[in-house]
């Protein structure tokens, strides 16, 4: 069976080309589809197994990052997306896509309802920054996208990536459910403990990515699609780095999961 992936485009999304390329190289039949085409014909979603919201600056991050696209998806495609998830399919949101997902409440999706429980806001530095970070996959996470991965090096490129849960109860629930998927750490794998630059934005508990309780719906601030070749790694001229960039495995996992189910 061909696993089909829909990569959302339009309104300032700008990582669609490389997200499309990564999914294709991971074995999916991927299409870039404009948001308006899906709104016009929500039945399009039925053709796909994976829905990807790439990074970018949807609506210029005006009002707040991801907010206006989040509302548009919620009002215009809320029901079809709920069905997409209920059908056991996969969703990923990267950077701006992650911001969109938490603001429309598609994550953390505690009880199947789109309710905003966490946010992503201004970095403590109050700056947009592009730098590479070390990431540790939380042991026991349910995230199917990270299956078999213990650590990752990826670039972050954002000004609003500071993860904040509504309260301690939400944070606790995320851990209990295995929804804390990815955390910033030091190069040796020890916790970043909020220290800049290991934790680039001041995220609570160094959280860089979360998933829904099923592990199929995943959002993260760092960019796996920007580390798919050896030469994407900033140290490739200094170290032995495998030919395939480590980020590609994230997409392979998704394709594998779809094939297996």
């Amino acid at each position: 069976m061909t696993v089909r992936a829909l990569v959302l485009t339009g309104f300032g999304i700008n990582c669609d080309a490389e997200t499309h390329s990564a999914l294709s190289r991971a074995g999916a039949g991927a299409d870039r589809v404009h948001l308006n085409d899906i709104i016009e014909n929500p039945g399009l979603l039925d053709r796909y197994h994976i829905f990807a919201i790439p990074g970018g600056f949807s609506f210029g991050d005006d009002v707040a990052s991801g907010k206006i696209l989040a509302n548009r998806l919620r009002y215009k495609l809320g029901a079809p997306l709920k069905k997409f998830i209920a059908d056991g399919k996969l969703v990923i949101g990267i950077c701006n896509g992650f911001q969109v997902m938490v603001k429309m409440g598609i994550l953390p999706l505690f009880d199947g309802e789109f309710i905003q429980e966490v946010t992503l806001t201004n970095n403590d530095s109050a700056r947009f920054e592009n730098r590479w970070v070390n990431l540790g996959v939380t042991p026991g996470t349910r995230c199917v996208w990270l299956k078999g991965i213990e650590s990752l090096e990826l670039p972050v490129r954002h000004g609003e990536g500071k993860f904040i849960p509504r309260d301690d109860a939400v944070l606790k629930k995320l851990y209990t459910n295995g929804q804390v998927a990815l955390r910033y750490c030091q190069p040796d794998g020890s916790p970043a403990n909020g220290q800049f630059p290991a934790n680039p934005n001041g995220a609570v508990d160094d959280i860089a990515g979360i998933c829904d309780p099923s592990g199929r719906v995943f959002g993260l601030m760092p960019h796996p699609e920007a580390n798919t070749f050896r030469t994407n790694h900033p140290q490739w001229t200094r170290k032995q780095i495998p030919q395939e960039g480590a980020g590609l495995q994230v997409f392979r996992n998704a394709v594998q999961y779809c094939k297996a189910t």
Binding site: T9, G10, F11, G12, N14, C15, A17, E18, S21, A22, R25, H34, N36, E40, G55, G56, F57, F59, G60, D61, D62, V63, A64, K67, I68, N71, R72, Y75, K76, Q116, E117, V118, T119, T121, N122, N123, D124, A126, F128, E129, N130, R131, W132, P155, R157, I164, P165, R166, H223, E225, A226, T228, F229, R230, T231, N232, P234, Q235, T237, R238
Partner: protein
Amino acid sequence: MPAKIEVGMKRGLPDPAGQSVRGRLAEDLGIRLDDVRVIDVYTIDAGLTPEQLERVRAELFTDPIIQESVVNKSLARDYDFIIEVGFLPGVTDNVGKSSAEGIADTLDRPMKPGEAVYKSTQYALRGALKGAADRPACERIARDALANELIQRWIVKSASEMAGLDGALLLGLPIVTERSDPEVHAINLDIPDAQLAALSRDRMLALELHEMKAIQAYYKDPDVRARRSSAGLPEQPTDIELEILAQTWSEHCKHKIFNAEIKYTDETGKKRTVNSLFKTYVKATTDKVAKQVDWLVSVFHDNAGIIKFDDHWNFALKAETHNSPSALDPYGGAITGIVGVNRDVLGAGMGCRCILNTDVFCFASPFYSGKIPPRLFHPRRVLRGVHQGVKDGGNQSGIPDVNGAIVFHERFLGKPLVFCGTGGLIPAKVAGKPSEEKGACPGDLIVMTGGRIGKDGIHGATFSSEELHEGSPATAVQIGDPITQKKMADFLLEARDLGLFTCIWDDGAGGLSSSVGEMARVSGGAEVHLEKAPLKYAGLAPWEIFLSEAQERMTLSIPPDKIDEFLNLARRRAVEATVLGTFTDSGRLECFYDGRKIASLDMEFLHDGVPKMHLKAVYTPPALEEASLPDKKDLTPDLKAVLGSLNVCSKETFVRMYDHEVLGQSVLKQFQGAQNDGPGDAGVIRPVPESRRGIAIACGICPKYSDIDTYHMMACAIDEAVRNIIAVGGRLGAIAGLDNFCWPDPIQSEKTPDGEHKLAQLVRCAEALHEYCVAYGIPLISGKDSMKNDYKIGDTKISIPPTVLFTAAGIIDDVEKTVSMDVKRPGDIVYAAGAGSLSRFTPNTRRSSRPP
């Protein structure tokens, strides 16, 4: 009745935006406050009910996790003063526009004509400034740190004044009420020379007297008169005709100095005539090198130069400057600079996808402590604004920054230089035809896409063809809207692949006048109906509609049988597209307004009628002494001083704020080495995932040599860029170049008594460009010159040091073989190559490699 919603961080949570402003006030103005909180204010003029307002407050404007908000009340607490900053009427308000879309989504109710949202920002200040006596300090904060009076307005209120206002709006609605005279006027040119010169100055035409006289003569021609009379046009030029000529003939668009005849006297007194610097030194270089390379695709005549990348793809490259706008509004000038050059590449061939940006800035020292002349900003503010503008423009457009520089010199106080470059990729064939071939056919429709037309942007081309002076117009200042442009670019590339248009052109500094005027050269004429053009607001005179530069706007020629499909796709992609007229083969550019003919210009006169300039250049080498170095044993303090100097110190803080890696093609990044903090030589990308071919981009710039000799300034800039490309693994024979000249006014006049010298410096510089590029085998594929980089108000004149940015692009056969500049391992051997020798330095310890 307009309503307002105020949103701020919940009390008890930190406010990084406020803290950042607080730090800036302390650093820039020496004003230390206890606290600054930032409050976003959305003023909604849409007749919403209280229930609707509450709904958009909660669902759209407020992040429930971290923010609090109020409707028609004041949110700020515990402050001494509030400063609210909003836009002036007519200034692009991107957040307001997006908010309106958000409201329409939330309430499932489209915004009606006339309804709008306006964004402003409150800064609640606490500490240090308390009483009425501190109001001037608040005004200073607003003027010098928070707002730019050319585009913004502000109001200062004390806490007690706020208490009496009970949540009322602080700033009125920024609605454009000014109406231009809609009539088209004939302008009498049968006037004495002095009045002709005054007319050029007063109307901001930026035309020299001999050019005004050429226009005068054209309108006296009996044939022209007869034709005008039969077309129902006045004998004298209409205002729109005069403005079209001024725009088309502007230095900015026609490069008159580079095309002038120059009588040059060299340092030995030998005289010769240079007939066009462009033809003699720039084009001649490319013509010569073109015999040695087989990868030139399209040079000089399109929006950007195009070379071959591989058998399937071509690569376009262009760099532009946006100096004058950046001097008046650093943020707006810079963001329109970067998104503007993006459009040049989008408009190259049948439309290229932008894949990289470069940025090179020249400023005076941010630590400058002297007096700032009128109308100029402190260099620190210019640096911050320009950097932020380029950062926002590039990041929001999703185009990675791969290379750049920040250069400091005291004379950039008069005008900062803001070079923005862009590279793009296009399939070698589009819809079955070579993608570099384009041209409007007679009968094709003239279609404008993207942003609407407003008064901001009038006289962009003529304004940048002058020095910065007292009367430099605020209307030349615009703010870019990268998202509208991104939507348009995505749409146009889709339309390109469907073969829906025959030609695409950027609406450059002259708006429709420049794009339609250029595109009509191929078909042989055009007929434009200006009342059809979509406007931001009513009240523009016809000439303003045709001449106003708009950002995020492109013009296309579309065959009539493709127009429905094109307009339908535009609607589905939420991009505005409007048919404005038809390309013709009438030999004339004709404009109509409400059916009445208001302009008819011979294409030939319009494009080729500008008289050649005749200039004189005399070179006298400066009397300089070789610097003597003191005989010192310990140079450590000097080394530290050099490393800490502005031109050498790390720029990482600024560069990290650019997105380097969007599009996922990065191979060699700006920062390299064990800690990813050493600046690299050239940026390398791998633009096509299926191929290991790459593109290396580097630049060279050294204005500090100009006062010694501009010949070597140019030579060193080329050499620097080439060495950077070679150092990462590029090779001669596969390098293309761009030359971007920024010069002080080189025309001898009362205000420029040393014009002959400055022009001689330009001649020497162009000679070096030619000689070095031919020697290296580098074709110049595009370039630009900006020739009036002076500041003159009263007795103060500041001219920039003559500067050329040389951008080099090298095609790399295999990116896996590129080399980063860092030292890799202990024990590695260091070689020095150059000056005909290759020497080996033997390391004297295992840990460090030192030259003897």
